[in-house]
């Protein structure tokens, strides 16, 4: 069996564990895992869908442009949730460990773990791309704040002029 075949044969198992692992980073992980309706459970559905796509791309030597869509969806989620930047990105890395464990657990596929270097390197590249996307999301948040302030709503507060409001954004307290 080639590594490619092994990855393909085990893809459901790996993705399932990857999704489960990622969802354990939420306090309500059991609900996010269980509820299958995408509209009743947007976090669970988004994570499942994005990681499924991502794994399919990581199995082949996909262009980094292609990785962007699923990565961006993951980062849109995690960059507005209660995670540090490292915590937001870390679950992506887990697929390396999971893949290794899954392959190692089976006698037939165990020897293939020695060939995982390229796969793991692709995961590393995806991680780096995810950091960029994380920062882009954070910048988007600040841009939206500025847009709201400029749209005239600042007259609501004693912040008064937009430049004062921008100072409030830069500082920690209002």
């Amino acid at each position: 069996m080639t590594l490619e075949e092994a990855l393909r044969n085990n893809r459901y198992k790996i993705v399932d564990r990857w999704v489960a692992y990622t969802l354990t980073t939420y306090e309500a992980s059991s609900f996010f895992l269980k509820e299958k309706d995408a509209f009743a459970n947007p976090i669970g559905a988004t994570v499942r869908d994005a990681l499924k796509k991502l794994f399919a791309l990581l199995m082949q030597d996909a262009e980094s442009e292609q990785l962007k869509e699923p990565l961006s969806r993951m980062m849109h989620l995690r960059s507005v949730q209660d995670f540090s930047p490292a915590q937001a990105v870390a679950p992506l890395n887990a697929v390396k460990h999971i893949t290794r464990e899954v392959l190692a657990a089976d006698k037939e596929t165990a020897p293939l773990t020695a060939e995982l270097y390229d796969f793991e390197f692709r995961v590393d590249l995806a991680m780096l791309a995810a950091f960029d996307l994380y920062v882009a999301c954070r910048e988007k948040i600040y841009q939206l704040r500025i847009d709201e302030i400029k749209s005239g709503k600042h007259t609501l507060t004693d912040g008064g002029c937009p430049s004062q409001a921008l100072k409030n954004i830069a500082g920690t307290k209002g």
């Binding site: 507005v80 870390a90 939206l144 847009d147």
Partner: protein, 543 residues
């Protein structure tokens, strides 16, 4: 080089406050104190605003001071505990529903996963049943025999400063949208429990600026922005100028005109901020089109009522202003614009606070003769009800192709949908003016998902909180965008027009947000118009 094991990665990712510190909390989440940090709380109300409100007739906002959620010491008044317990006792007496809601929850969990804050954060304290439990546990401890005797074993807990901090955190992570109540077999309305927690917090001087400043502005000048009469009038006149540039039609709206048949009241955001401006242009065109005898008011210049988000006294006072103005001008009835919570106040609270408005007449459309008996007590009819009736009677000349740049979907704003049952009128209008599709069934009508920024949480310092609580709504919009090429999210609420604009900006940047009346305005064929190709309807830039 050793590769970190999955286990270790988990520990630092799941439990540690940060990979860097490696610290792992050892207690259950229910025991964890809430942590306030930049981005997860709205700024406290400024001292002078609270003082001003407290000095006003009929209002009570004591214990004004400078304080910050990030400080350990919130500078509560010395007898804070007595104040809260007494405040709760008074409210249990005054509001029968509160007592019932405190007693009858069987913890079935039907509401648990229905809240957009829970769905977007995964934080168990954002389950409606747990949110209510924050207050209920105090109620049990101090107001029930079992709690007094058994304390913790009967689900009671002692009132501490930590509990008040929890109330502040989680009553301002509830948009009082009432989605959870739709699923509760007992009809427990967690929104009203949130309201009580906010009321009690105001008694010890804890509130947020984004709410109290609009309340004080409304009390002073009549609208959230504190716009004075001339500014309000100028803004509406500017919109009339824009309409003239676009269509060649000159509209001259009147203000504070005694003897007009109808008083029109809409959220002030419609007359000064995008994208509400286009909705206001829609109103102006519609009223011109049918030739109704109506007036704007520069005093009742706000439909919104942020009093609803503070305490019942402020809500009552701000609501009363609209009726005082209707009486002063001697109109027959009121038409209300596309606002959310104005209608909640009207339909759920107005009658027992200030109503019935017997000095007005039951709204009767001067164009069609339809009597809006649903508004027999409040004498105020919704612009969508009014418009749908006009369309039904063929009173509008509509060219749907003027909205061919739009593929819309409709967001049921929480208050019109769940608090007044306005479900079909906007849809009927959409059917006639634009090509549109519905979002998935469990995200619309009574089960609609909140924009995530209602009840005065539409302030920019909690943007990421708003983005995560708005995820369930954005997720459903994305679905129709991907499947049907939807490019416009229509709604009938001014807060939504502002907040969904940011929400879409983050999650679905190709989708714009508009009011229903904007789409109506786009499509109207006006007598004597000289309009060119307006590729983006009322939003088209003409020079």
């Amino acid at each position: 080089m050793s590769v970190p094991k999955l286990e270790q990665l988990s520990k630092s990712v799941v439990q540690g406050p940060s990979l860097a510190t490696g610290a792992i909390p050892k207690v259950d989440w229910t025991e964890l104190p809430v942590e306030f940090k930049s981005g997860n709380y709205a700024y406290p109300a400024k001292k002078d605003k609270v003082e001003y409100l407290n000095s006003q007739k009929g209002l009570y906002f004591p214990n004004a001071r400078e304080w910050s959620p990030e400080d350990d010491d919130w500078k509560f008044p010395e007898n804070w505990k007595e104040i809260i317990i007494k405040g709760l006792a008074e409210r249990l007496n005054k509001f029968r529903s509160l007592k019932i809601f405190m007693d009858c929850c069987v913890r079935c969990g039907a509401c648990a996963d229905k809240c957009h804050f829970f769905l977007g954060t995964g934080d168990p304290r954002n389950m409606p049943v747990m949110r209510a439990e924050l207050l209920r546990s105090i109620y049990r401890n101090d107001f029930t025999l079992a709690g007094k005797v058994l304390g913790k074993m009967a689900g009671g807990r002692e009132l501490t400063v930590g509990v008040l901090k929890e109330w502040f955190m989680y009553s301002y992570q509830c948009t009082e949208c009432r989605r959870c109540s739709v699923f509760c077999p007992y009809g427990i309305d967690t929104a009203e429990i949130t309201m009580m927690m906010r009321e009690l917090l105001h008694l010890v001087g804890v509130g947020i600026n984004w709410i109290l400043e609009p309340v004080s502005n409304s009390n002073r000048t009549g609208n959230h922005m504190g716009l004075q009469p001339h500014t309000f009038k100028d803004n509406v006149d500017f919109l009339a100028d824009d309409i003239e540039n676009l269509t060649g039609i000159r509209i001259t709206p009147t203000f504070n005109r005694k003897g007009a048949e109808v008083l029109f009241i809409t959220p002030s955001a419609d007359v000064f901020a995008e994208p509400g401006l286009y909705t206001a242009m829609g109103y102006l065109l519609l009223f011109e089109h049918i030739g109704i005898d109506y007036t704007w008011s520069t005093y009742a210049s706000e439909g919104g009522n942020f009093g609803l988000f503070t305490n019942n006294e402020s809500m009552k006072k701000l609501n009363a202003k609209m009726y005082a103005e209707a009486r002063r001008l001697g109109v027959k009835f009121i038409i209300g614009g596309e606002c959310g919570h104005m209608w909640r106040v009207l339909h759920q609270y107005m009658d027992t606070m200030n109503g019935p408005a017997d000095f007005l007449e039951v709204p009767k459309s001067p164009m069609t003769g339809t009597v809006f008996s649903n508004a027999a007590s409040t004498k105020m009819v919704h612009i969508s009800e009014f418009t749908a009736d006009l369309i039904k009677h063929g009173k509008l000349s509509i060219d749907k192709s003027r909205n061919s740049h739009v593929k819309a979907t409709f967001h049921d704003s929480c208050n019109p949908a769940r608090a007044m049952g306005l479900l079909d009128e906007p849809r009927y209008i959409l059917d006639h003016v634009v090509d549109w599709v519905e979002m998935p069934e469990n995200t619309i009508r009574e089960r609609t998902f909140c924009c995530g920024s209602g009840t005065g949480l539409n302030t920019d310092e909690i943007m990421e909180l708003r983005m995560r609580s708005g995820l369930p709504r954005a997720n459903a919009v994305k679905y129709v965008e991907d499947r049907h090429g939807v490019n416009t999210l229509a709604c009938v609420c001014a807060i939504d027009r502002a907040t969904l604009t940011s929400l879409m900006g983050y999650w679905n940047p190709n989708v714009t947000v508009c009011g229903i009346s904007e789409l109506v305005g786009n499509s109207l064929v006006m007598d004597g118009e000289t309009r060119g190709e307006l590729e983006e309807g009322l939003r088209t830039m003409v020079f």
